[in-house]
Point group: C2
Chain length 153, copies 2
């Protein structure tokens, strides 16, 4: 469920970059380099979480269910991670006096560490992501144009 997060970010970022256009799973799968079915598996989770909407049939596809500024990356992570934790937890039923107490404390720590990561993800919205990607593409384009101009002159 970890690679799915990367696919989810691709979907959200790609949809945002098209500014409201509907895109088919085929298109998104191709640009990511995977199969439409794999991509749709992620799309189904994002849909269940209310982040995208999809329409079936001819001319169908998917688009963002909310404004890009109202979707943060933590939501995307939670949409694709089915109740699994990132860091494995200490098992129950450890023997002795120390181990069970230690295990309980460690589990709390692991939870905190994960929360730190999720909060970092929550601080980024799809809109911010889109803005930066657009800027980079624009910069690359002008740089190319400038160097082409220099080369031409």
């Amino acid at each position: 469920m970890n690679n799915q997060f990367t696919i989810a970010l691709h979907i959200l970022g790609f949809l945002a970059s098209r500014g409201g256009d509907m895109l088919t799973s085929e298109q998104m799968a191709h640009t990511y380099g995977t199969s439409p079915v794999v991509l749709r598996r992620v799309l189904a989770k994002l849909q269940r979480a209310g982040l995208v909407e999809t329409q079936r049939g001819a001319g169908g596809g998917s688009l963002l269910a909310r404004h890009p500024s109202a979707i943060n990356l933590r939501e995307a992570y939670e949409a694709v991670s089915d109740d699994t934790v990132m860091l494995a937890r200490h098992p129950d039923g450890c023997a002795g006096v120390v181990a069970p107490v230690l295990g309980h404390y460690v589990n709390g720590l692991l939870e905190e560490a994960e929360r730190a990561m999720l909060e970092r993800l929550a601080a980024v919205t799809v809109a911010q992501m889109d803005r930066i990607v657009r800027a980079r593409i624009g910069r690359a384009r002008t740089a190319r144009g400038a160097s082409a101009g220099r080369r031409a002159s």
Copy 2:
């Protein structure tokens, strides 16, 4: 390599709780609920990272290589995670104009999110962990004693 982190924390915490005693992999494996070989696989990594020292032969075992206050949990994590990243990265070779740029940016974000988690882990030392576990065990003991006393009276 993720469950190994939990085992690593068990090892470090358990060794600290014994205050410098040498413990065999058998003892530590039993309290965690796994086999000595599995535990030694983690022990080998901790040893390579310089966190524990082990002695072979009869009467052998392992102990912390440094003072518990000089070992933080991030070191433990890096000792057991062999160059693997926690969050899968965006693949190379995406098609189109947007996807490669988006992928590059997303990878930076994932790195930041992981760093946030590691920094949270780095803020905790084995000594702090040990102090809290000791306190909890002590509290549980007095509570048991008090309720036993109340019951007896």
